[in-house]
């Protein structure tokens, strides 16, 4: 791109921003090693960058941000208004017969959707109860669990002989 002779990274930097102190020193060292007409070219290049860099920023009104955000609010309000207007515009274009159909469908949905949801809940509840009942059928009889605590607290090791125990009680 750049026809300027010299270190390539400095050529690239010089057209973006004014060179820093170290970069200027590097350039000066290069120019000292390569005497010729390059110094004037480099001086022009840097002068142009300095001129362009010193251009003042574009003036923006102090209320720029507020105005923009207000315009954004208007844009969003306008979009919502447009959607409403489009809906009612299309509604008015419908033939009376289709309007009645649309109202009937809307009413059906209004009543039907909650009824359907309630129905689904009841079905789920019935299914859960049936599943619980089926599970209860597989459990032992509650009477068999009456002595559960006693059995649980039996000492470890071999059980005493029942006949010897009966004799001992006698």
């Amino acid at each position: 791109m750049n026809t300027l002779p010299g270190p390539e990274h400095l050529c690239d930097l010089a057209c973006r921003r004014p060179l820093g102190e170290a970069e200027r020193a590097e350039l000066a060292a290069w120019l000292a090693q390569h005497p010729g007409p390059h110094a004037e070219d480099w001086a022009e290049e840097q002068a142009l960058t300095r001129l362009l860099s010193a251009l003042p920023p574009a003036p923006l009104s102090p209320r720029f941000r507020e105005n923009l955000l207000a315009a954004l609010d208007r844009l969003e309000d306008g979009a919502a208004e447009w959607r409403r207007a489009r809906f009612w515009g299309r509604w008015r274009l419908l033939a009376p017969r289709w309007r009645r159909v649309a109202v009937a469908v809307a009413l059906a949905l209004l009543v039907g959707v909650p009824w359907w949801q309630q129905h689904r809940e009841q079905v789920r509840l019935r299914e859960a109860l049936a599943a619980a009942a089926a599970l209860a059928g597989e459990l032992p009889d509650p009477a068999a669990l009456a002595e559960f605590d006693l059995v649980l607290h039996l000492p470890e090791g071999p059980l005493p002989d029942l006949e010897t125990l009966a004799l001992a009680f006698e």
Binding site: M1, L48, L51, L52, P57, A58, L60, F64, A71, L72
Partner: protein
């Protein structure tokens, strides 16, 4: 090596989800760079401000179409350039004299209504205004592609790849555009390059 995630792209994804705060952060970061670019491209401060507003409204409206595959800054300046090109075409169809433009080559541009914070004297300010007008004039005479390539390279410090994406051309074409633009500017601004400094600095 994995590329670092673009923080602007992350903000833009939040904008897509309707996060207004993320949009305000992008606005804060880019309102001045976009305004600078449009000001230098169009040469009119008022139009540049209006168009900057248009750019950000467009960004908000088009948020759903943004894809992370593109860098946000590239996408933003592509929108800015397209709007500016529309404006330049409109001007070409309906030419009008801008109140901000210099009245004639020999007359200095009138000072803008925005207060100048520099504590220079009136002569320095006049020279400064004249120099700004000359640079603006020289920039305005460049073909649009050279102007955009130069401005994005110098003011926004965009990589050549990003500038190529904005302009829709190759990398070597971008480098060539920048080189030719700078050569033209050097010829046009030669008397001012001798001192290499702005008045009063």
């Amino acid at each position: 090596m994995a590329e670092a995630p673009d923080p602007d792209a992350e903000l833009m994804l939040r904008v897509q989800r309707g996060d207004r705060r993320a949009f305000e952060q992008l606005l804060e970061r880019y309102q001045q760079p976009v305004a600078n670019y449009l000001h230098r491209l169009l040469g009119d401060a008022t139009e540049a401000e209006d168009l900057t507003q248009g750019v950000f409204l467009q960004v908000y409206k088009s948020a759903a179409r943004y894809r992370v595959s593109a860098r946000f800054v590239t996408w933003l300046f592509t929108i800015a350039r397209n709007l500016a090109l529309n404006e330049l075409r409109r001007r070409a169809r309906h030419p009008a004299l801008s109140l901000d433009a210099p009245l004639a080559d020999t007359e200095p541009a009138p000072a803008r209504g925005v207060p100048d914070p520099r504590p220079d004297g009136p002569v320095d300010r006049l020279l400064q205004t004249e120099l700004e007008a000359k640079i603006q004039e020289a920039l305005a005479d460049l073909p649009e592609t050279q102007r955009t390539a130069l401005l994005l390279c110098r003011e926004q410090e965009l990589a050549y790849e990003d500038i190529a994406a904005v302009l829709g051309c190759s990398l070597s074409a971008v480098k060539s555009l920048i080189h030719r633009g700078r050569e033209t500017l050097k010829r046009r601004l030669k008397p001012y390059l001798r001192s290499g400094a702005w008045p009063g600095t």
